[in-house]
Point group: C3
Chain length 444, copies 3
């Protein structure tokens, strides 16, 4: 058991209604419909596969069989914190009362899930039980944003496809369909991007977001270069002619990888900068999720293929942070190793805010260490404590509980016991991290 002070703080912290500023919830289908929706979370499929489960057990079977197959491997990773989330969901929502989840529990859990997940009040119950007040979405740029309450499920414009896949014809087709603007030249591209921002802000969007690879280095691309890059991309060119290459020398000093020297790479730089300009104009914070390499393990399960290269720095964002003092950048880093950069850049730049504990750093050992540093070095009004990153509402409770436990420990050890704060002061701080800062920064 944790000591009394930690327990007392935790008991108060769980009462704070949550603003969850980043999730992958589908607002039209926010809860799980079956145990398969829960066990299908990539954490379980990738851990089971990593621990030896054949991918065929995921693909060619019925949902119930898939759940059985997955639970048959759970004893290989029941040490992980992700297993801990599952156990907490089973206990809190599915009536599970055992010590450990094993293969033998598959059918009983499946049936329990069938019963409770179909309850008409299930969504409302989960939100209430989890103390979730608002949940931010990650909305595709061509999402119509209809059919849900944007005060509950707050739209957020996800822009990865625009930045990194505009060289793919289907992205341009989707963009034209969503905006009515053809991306035939630079002016058309700008019209399309503006139309997206108008649509999203009109429908209640409160943020723009993108995830970025470790070598990405934002730079302002001169219009002439950007136009040339767009032309080349539209013409299907994947590498520059030598003569054109010379033309982009102006941005060349920031190009870190050969990939960025391609037309698609320069286009990515240019579109990214254009998004920052629109965030400024439309008053949207820009969520930057820094550091992920896509498709590293090429034969991995769905969403279980991405990793990272620790050789990256927020120094790469110097020009961006200087150029857009009016835009609030909510920055997540993928590694705990980069947390000191995040804390320090947020300590110095007024427009940089620390945001959550992302993915590979979303385990207690890193959360506690990273929160500890941020809480003593970054102004308390500039920290977004946590977000769920969840795909189904049921995961909000165990994920936030993991964070709240870590937070209670840090507040107890580093603030209250140290004499730096009273318990009341510590709880005020927790309230900023879990609620008030997100409300103020995103305007919700």
């Amino acid at each position: 058991m944790a000591d009394q002070l930690v327990q007392d703080l935790y008991a108060e912290i769980v009462k704070i209604p949550l603003i969850d500023p980043h999730s992958h919830i589908d607002p039209r289908r926010p809860t799980a419909r079956s145990l398969d929706d829960i066990l299908g979370y990539h954490y379980y499929t990738e851990l089971a596969h990593s621990a030896g489960m054949d991918k065929a057990l995921l693909a060619d079977v019925s949902p119930r069989e898939r759940a059985r197959g997955l639970l048959a491997h759970v004893d290989r990773f029941d040490n992980t914190v992700q297993y801990g989330w599952l156990l907490e969901i089973a206990r809190t929502f599915l009536g599970f009362q055992g010590e450990r989840l094993t293969a033998g529990d598959a059918d009983a859990l499946w049936d329990a899930a069938e019963r409770v997940l179909a309850r008409p009040d299930w969504e409302a119950y989960v939100l209430k039980r989890s103390n979730l007040e608002k949940v931010f979405l990650t909305s595709d740029f061509d999402d119509p944003l209809t059919g849900f309450d944007p005060a509950r499920y707050v739209p957020c414009l996800r822009t990865d496809d625009l930045v990194f896949h505009l060289d793919q014809p289907q992205t341009r087709t989707r963009l034209a369909r969503a905006t009515g603007a053809e991306v035939g030249d630079l002016a058309g591209l700008r019209r399309a991007v503006r139309a997206l921002f108008e649509h999203f802000t009109a429908r209640g969007a409160k943020a723009c977001a993108v995830s970025l690879p470790p070598d990405f280095t934002p730079a302002a691309v001169p219009d002439a270069d950007l136009g040339r890059a767009l032309d080349a991309v539209l013409a299907g060119e994947v590498s520059w002619q030598r003569g054109v290459f010379t033309a982009v020398q102006m941005v060349r000093s920031v190009l870190q990888s050969p990939a960025e020297e391609s037309p698609a790479g320069v286009l990515a730089l240019g579109v990214f900068w254009m998004l920052a300009e629109h965030c400024r104009e439309f008053g949207l914070p820009f969520d930057l999720m820094v550091g992920v390499n896509r498709r590293v393990y090429r034969n991995g399960v769905y969403q279980g293929q991405d990793l990272f290269d620790q050789r990256t720095s927020l120094f790469q964002y110097t020009e961006l942070f200087n150029a857009f003092p009016e835009v609030t950048f909510c920055v997540s880093v993928l590694t705990s190793g980069q947390n000191q950069e995040l804390a320090s850049y947020s300590w110095i730049f007024p427009n940089v805010v620390t945001s959550g504990h992302w993915w590979y750093s979303n385990v207690p050992a890193y959360i506690e260490q990273d929160a500890r540093a941020r809480l003593r070095a970054v102004p308390k009004t500039k920290q977004i404590g946590y977000y769920s990153d969840m795909y189904k509402l049921e995961f909000g409770l165990p994920k936030y509980n993991m964070y709240r436990r870590a937070l209670a420990r840090v507040l107890a050890d580093d603030f209250v016991r140290d004499g730096a704060m009273t318990e009341a002061g510590a709880l005020e701080l927790a309230r900023l991290l879990l609620r008030e800062n997100a409300k103020r920064i995103f305007g919700v």
Copy 2:
């Protein structure tokens, strides 16, 4: 409250008279003259600005107004450890008895500061109360070093301007005025540098110091190349002619950034190496403060613009450490991420010493973690535990207390409770870290 063992160790550790081997004290004006001198520390101006304070509130107002403005923002960053220093100063030196500092305390604090800071015995009182025996300075190379007691305030030759700004005419003018030697050619440069070392050591200087950017990679520059670089700099050239570039191929393998390929970059390498040669000849330890990028946030407050790029390595210093076995390098790193390199290089190289907890790593979460690793991996005689880095004497007490608390915790948990040392042994170790190592290494 900390447990009894930690309290007992702390109570003994604070009795050790301190040798503070790095500060920015002005020995002719060592204490604050007003509350403005305390609140003007860049930590407060940069945190307030980062948390939303307009820079105009710092610039165009009276000192008393500036203090009011700053305290009006302190509730945005009263979670930080830097706020903790301020609170401890207010309580220890200014008679503050409240729970928290707020905007409402500005005038009372100002008046209290007026009273105590003017006391004729103030400097002596602060030194005694803080248990500070000697305080090292960071002296400009053209400081006359007169008007103070070098046994109390120990001069240290700061060389950043020589290494990085010799391409600026005013640096050369200052150098000529200070030494009587014109930097018209390489021989003149050497005469000037030698004159500086003679002047400084004659006046009691005990160290040479420089701060270095993350991409700096020391290398011996052949005289011919160095002379050519100096000529080019004197002629106002900012980039090499192609032909000259070929001439510096000998050092090119160490050039990490395009900046270093310029004449000024090669001159920086050459002057740095020359300084190491003079440290050897004059028997001075060389303080290397590794990893800072200057002016990253270009619109930041004074001294609140510098950050870093974590992609750096002490491996870059291999040639230097091998070439100067007679010179003791007291190395500070800016990031906790580099602490393992520092501990390991100091564990292996006889001439590398770990030094303090610098700037962005000078927060409890990093101090404790970094000290923990050093204390179990580096010979105890090769560790300089802490320095204040302070500009005004009043900051010595809270900063050292922060370190002493962290040290007491590490000694309790990792040594005494573990059975690795007795309490007496742990206190002996603390004495080396806070006093004896600095005395021996710097010869004071």
Copy 3:
């Protein structure tokens, strides 16, 4: 004292019979023969030298004098964990009863060592006392592997010389002598490598191992390029002709350093890949020890010259991990900073296993932090908890005890007290880390 739960867990953990999957034991001379064999461990010579001991005290004196000289410097590094191992050996095996080891203990320790180390049952006694069941070796590729029991001392093919020193004629001579195959061309090289794997697996080898520098980036080298590189190396060429360089453009995108562009560098890439192919064919796990730069401190003591550059990433191993799904890669990283990469790559790639706490990360501060992260993020079946890396059996006990203490703390704090596991569950986990995973992965 540690608390009761930690003590209870530790008491049970030490009862688990150990499989030590990496050591440098000479199976024909596994124990120390004198105190000099113990004090001659590079940790003591390098720490003493780093703390000021003249290397002459190691070289030109009798073994007893050498031991005296080393113990005369031990009071400069008796804070280190390596000193802790020595103290534990003295107490456990040599009857030492004092508080601290000092210069005055040299002769008594020497005599005690003379007595006990000569006991005929000494090897058996040390193994039993240390609870060591099997100890893996690091066998030179031309080791005949005779004269010992491979069920006790498990051979492992160490391949550093093959990968990095095949450009040296004596390596090729040794290879020809060991295999009967001349390395005159690519076919000959393949024959020789295959002969090694046949010899080693026939003699009970259960792993292949290599240590790699930070900039190493595995890549498949086309046969034509590899043949050309081998020809160039055999012809004594140390750099490419411009024309040939063009021919290796296929691998150039992975070349990180100019060194790798040399014929010897391309040969290293090609031989490494060939070893992975043979691991696949012969069913051997491949131990990768990632991140060491050799001979950084060129004037250091024997084995006390190597360090590292933290700027490295497992991202460099992407192609390797993808290309060999059938090979289990047991990966050690030299820095704690890279531990999150290791945990994450092992969490995603089925064929990547975390392995031990290596060298500069083998100190309690890093072990505890690194284990904490792995235990909550990596499937429990994919973690090799620890290996001794020892040269003499006497070091198994104190090194494993250091790890077991750290493990008991992590299990108590992060699992049992947190409610995530029962004590029995935590001990089951410890058993996987110290024994069962190694048995399953290596097939012993």
